[in-house]
């Protein structure tokens, strides 16, 4: 069973083994801080997972229609009506910082 079909670009090309540089890149993409020691440990864990995926990829899936969802149902649609009330006050009550109705976040500069 192919969970992802088509041209999805695999993050890891076979043979499936991640080096430390790739671990750091994945961590950066996921915005997770990983120290050098953690990186080595993480590589071991991820590589054992990749072994499992490798086994699955060995299954012959030719002739099987690609699947894009676990349930064999189709998307239901919603009528185009603006029905949501303004709940800003309630939502912002749990925000760490707000001003003039805006959520404040650490400054992002391109």
């Amino acid at each position: 069973m192919a969970l992802f079909s088509g041209p999805f670009r695999p993050l890891f090309a076979p043979p499936m083994s991640l080096d430390l540089e790739q671990i750091r890149r994945i961590a950066r993409l996921a915005r997770i801080a990983v120290s050098d020691e953690e990186a080595a440990a993480t590589a071991g864990k991820l590589n054992s997972l990749l072994g499992l995926i490798e086994e699955m990829q060995a299954v012959d899936t030719s002739g099987i229609e690609p699947m894009s969802h676990a349930m064999d149902l189709v998307q239901r649609l919603r009528e185009d009506k603006a029905v949501e009330p303004d709940r800003r006050e309630a939502f912002q009550a749990i925000a760490p910082a707000v001003e003039d109705g805006l959520y404040l976040v650490p400054r992002v500069v391109e």
């Binding site: 999805f8 993409l29 189709v74 998307q75 919603r78 185009d80 109705g101 805006l102 404040l104």
Partner: protein, 476 residues
């Protein structure tokens, strides 16, 4: 040796729905920050997106209008990246199975009509807005725009140069407004283009491209593409290499500059969104939508040329917007006059006046039936075209119907040949030199004499008749 500029465009069109693509929050522009951001839009835990039927219908409309395949089954995917105005940490988009596939759009170029292939159009949600003004050293986030439905329309690299890119963007801009799926407001960001630009020697494979963002007017698009192509050519001619990257256009300096460093090379790790089931569109639904489509700009343009005998140029101008084409058809009907005369008036006097006062044709102080009544009076010989311009200005100022203005100002054309003959005799008597010149073969003298007669009648004489009578008298 010459260089060829190759352009592909990606256009984000904001769909004219009342609510968001996956929530029931309003999409109205200009509300106070975060008052139109629901639990789904701000990505509170445990919420589920539910797809807006209207957004799907609008995607089908666009697909049909560009002769594309409407995918019977399409899939939503998560595009993963981190930015504070994207609270989920991913944007719901479509990746390998978009809803619209393989269409095309015809554009007018200097070398004639050209077909631009449209690879795909997919539904996705917009992000919020980040405000970087100083909030105690922090950024402010407004999520009102988060979840607004977008249709991203992607071409093949079929355009050669900035002018063709702009012609395509204009044609698409006309089309999306024409079929009522987008208001086309570029200032408010409802129609945003990114251009993929590369250069090559003619006949060679495609060069490395750069993507230019922030093209929020047609003028900026042309300038940005021209600048970027020149930059790439100079780089290559100096022995350098173009690096694939995203660049931002700065209209103040008229230049593009690198936006993201190579280190942060995009890796969106798309995968199907488990929160959304596949979108299935039945053939019957496609046919239902097809039945609601108006006559499209291209078909109308061809009909204006075929049925009315207009030039492609006139037809192109008249079909620049649906309101304009509707105005024209009404004008022809109301005036009962030749279409060419109607086109000249709409594309000439009317367009100039609208332009001068910064008005849309739908808000013209002179609506089609009124202009029709005026053109009718030109066609039936009541007034000359020149006098009609004076009447038109009066109509524009709200002085009444053309007939009332003609009557009140005594502008009726003098078609009484006896009266004209008398005037001609007077003019000939007073201009013996010109008469001599004309008889000596100076054609210009004739025009001067016509001018004198017209002047004597304050432009009210029928110019055709004046010509005829003058010629007769001069010959005799």
């Amino acid at each position: 040796m010459t260089w060829e500029i190759v352009v592909g465009l990606e256009t984000h069109t904001q769909l004219l729905t009342e609510s968001k693509i996956f929530s029931g929050a309003s999409t109205a522009f200009g509300a106070a920050p975060n008052t139109q951001a629901s639990a789904v839009d701000i990505a509170l835990p445990g919420v589920l997106p539910v797809l807006n039927a209207k957004a799907v219908e609008f995607a089908i409309r666009l697909g049909l209008a560009i002769g594309a395949t409407i995918a019977p089954r399409s899939v939503f995917a998560r595009k993963n990246y981190f930015y504070p105005d994207l609270p989920k940490g991913y944007q719901i988009s479509q990746y390998e199975l978009p809803v619209v596939q393989n269409g095309s759009l015809k554009i007018a170029t200097e070398g004639g009509e050209k077909t631009i292939r449209i690879l795909r159009a997919h539904l996705e949600e917009d992000a919020g807005k980040s405000l970087h003004e100083d909030f105690k050293g922090m950024s402010g986030i407004d999520l009102n725009r988060a979840g607004t439905p977008l249709l991203e329309i992607v071409t093949e690299p079929d355009m050669r140069g900035a002018k063709e890119a702009v012609a395509y963007a204009r044609a698409l801009h006309t089309l999306v407004r024409w079929i009522g799926i987008c208001d086309g407001n570029m200032q408010e960001g409802s129609f945003r283009c990114d251009a993929n630009v590369s250069v090559r020697r003619p006949g060679e494979p495609l060069g490395t491209r750069c993507e230019i963002k922030n093209l929020n007017s047609f003028r900026f698009m042309e300038q940005a593409i021209e600048y970027e192509a020149r930059r790439q050519v100079e780089l290559i001619e100096d022995g350098g290499k173009v690096v694939q990257e995203t660049r931002l256009y700065d209209p103040d300096r008229n230049e593009t500059r690198s936006m993201r460093s190579k280190e942060d090379a995009q890796d969106y790790r798309y995968f199907p969104d488990p929160d959304l089931l596949p979108l299935v569109i039945a053939a019957a639904e496609v046919e239902r939508v097809r039945a609601t489509l108006p006559e499209l700009p291209q078909a109308k343009k061809e009909r204006f040329v075929g049925q009315f005998g207009l030039t492609p140029y006139d037809a192109e101008l008249l079909t620049g917007a649906r309101e304009s084409a509707d105005y024209f058809e009404s004008l022809v009907r109301e005036s009962g006059a030749e279409a060419k005369l109607c086109a000249n008036w709409q594309n000439g006097e009317l367009a100039a006046a609208l332009n001068r006062d910064g008005l849309e044709i739908a808000r013209s102080p002179v609506p089609a039936p009124s202009l029709g009544a005026l053109v009718k009076r030109i066609a039936d010989g009541t007034i000359s075209g020149k006098i009609a311009k004076e009447v038109f200005e009066a109509m524009w100022r709200g002085e009444g119907s053309p007939d009332a203005i003609i009557e009140a100002r005594g502008l009726k054309q003098i078609s009484d040949s006896g009266a004209i003959e008398k005037l001609v005799d007077e003019v000939l008597a007073a201009n013996a030199k010109q008469v001599e010149d004309y008889r000596a073969g100076k054609e210009k003298a004739f025009n001067s004499l016509v001018g004198q007669v017209m002047k004597a009648t304050k432009g009210k004489a029928n110019p055709g008749q004046v010509n005829e009578i003058l010629k007769k008298k001069l010959a005799g």
